[in-house]
């Protein structure tokens, strides 16, 4: 498959969206939301920003299936790293000495 050239317009829109996301995360970080909502909002904005960078700046949206697979494998192994290690730490308190 041949190379896809992303247009300048798309780059400008993505850069603007990333700047808006940055302002949003600062404003939301100063507001007091109930429970764990603060960290959830912060991480959601960060994930949306990261996805925009990966899809458009890093051209994954226009890349071959193999590149998609390689990136998905990173997310998958990261999920294993977090879930299995946390499974250990979370359940340690279950053991009553």
């Amino acid at each position: 498959m041949s190379e896809h050239i992303v247009s300048l317009k798309v780059y400008v829109i993505i850069a603007a969206a990333l700047m808006i996301g940055t302002s949003l995360t600062v404003v939301a970080g100063k507001m007091d939301f109930p429970g764990p909502l603060n960290v959830i909002i912060a991480l959601t904005i960060a994930c949306v920003k990261a996805t925009l960078v990966v899809l458009y700046f890093m051209h994954v949206r226009y890349s071959s299936k193999l590149v998609w697979l390689i990136f998905a494998s990173a997310v998958f192994w990261l999920a294993i790293l977090f879930s299995l290690t946390f499974a250990d730490y979370w359940t340690r308190s279950w053991l009553v000495p």
Partner: protein
């Protein structure tokens, strides 16, 4: 329309050739003989694709590398939430926000660089790379000012500097925070931002080399893999910061009213 031009100049025979045919074509067809084509690739397209896959595999290892540190952060923050919030509130939010904007802007100029190479605008490519390097250096400069502030405030963890051990007395503790445990936040802060800064320094070095070759006219629509690959690395470093910024600078601001 530039895209069309690129398509026209592309070598025609790419698919459906046996290896022997391609080798024969290499010898007869001048369109196959791009000076940057390595002998172990069949054509420029295959070479470009292999380079892209190569850098992505490297970036996966980088994601796992930073993933370990993000895990350490998550674990200690869940154990010492108020200590982390108090220590984080001492960071300079203004500088952190400016740095985030600087880095996003540098990713944008990097993307413009790749675009310029793809459409064959050599002058714009060099300018974009120079801007990206400049913004990277601005980021590192602001980071250095922040690090110095932490040094002045006795917030370098451990006893790295003789006579200047870690001292949390300058941090305003939130209710329920034990100042003794705030050092952990600064270990993680310096480990993660320090490792990120090292990646930035490597990136600036990499882009300087690319800019040197770009100025000598090495890259154009047919061959610009090094620009593309360095760009992917640069964007990756940007993504790490996109996560570091809210996690390190913004985690306790809502307690401050």
């Amino acid at each position: 329309m530039n895209r069309k031009k690129f398509e026209e100049t592309k070598p025609e025979a790419e698919e459906g050739n046996t290896l022997a045919e391609s080798i024969a074509m290499d010898q007869h067809d001048s369109t196959h003989g791009h000076p940057a084509l390595q002998h172990h690739f069949e054509n420029m397209e295959q070479q470009r694709e292999a380079g892209t896959i190569g850098i992505w595999v490297f970036l996966v290892t980088e994601i796992m590398f930073f993933g370990g540190m993000f895990f350490a952060y998550t674990l200690y923050r869940s154990q010492y939430p108020m200590e982390f919030a108090s220590a984080s509130n001492h960071l300079d939010l203004t500088m952190g926000t400016i740095n985030t904007a600087v880095l996003i802007l540098s990713s944008f100029t990097m993307a413009l660089g790749v675009y310029s190479a793809q459409v064959g605008k050599q002058r714009n490519l060099v300018i974009s790379l120079a801007l990206t390097i400049f913004l990277g250096l601005v980021f590192l400069g602001i980071k250095a000012v922040e690090y110095h502030e932490k040094y002045v405030d006795h917030l370098i963890p451990g006893r790295l500097f003789p006579g200047n051990p870690f001292d949390p007395s300058g941090i305003h503790p939130l209710p329920g925070a034990n100042p003794q445990k705030m050092e952990m936040f600064y270990w993680i802060y310096f480990a993660m931002t320090g490792m990120h800064a090292i990646h930035m320094i490597i990136g600036v070095g990499l882009l300087s080399v690319i800019m040197y070759f770009a100025a000598r006219g090495r890259y154009g629509p047919e061959y610009h893999s090094p620009v593309e690959v360095s760009g992917l690395y640069w964007h990756f470093v940007d993504i790490i910061w996109i996560f570091l910024f809210p996690l390190l600078y913004l985690l306790g601001r809502h307690f401050q009213h």
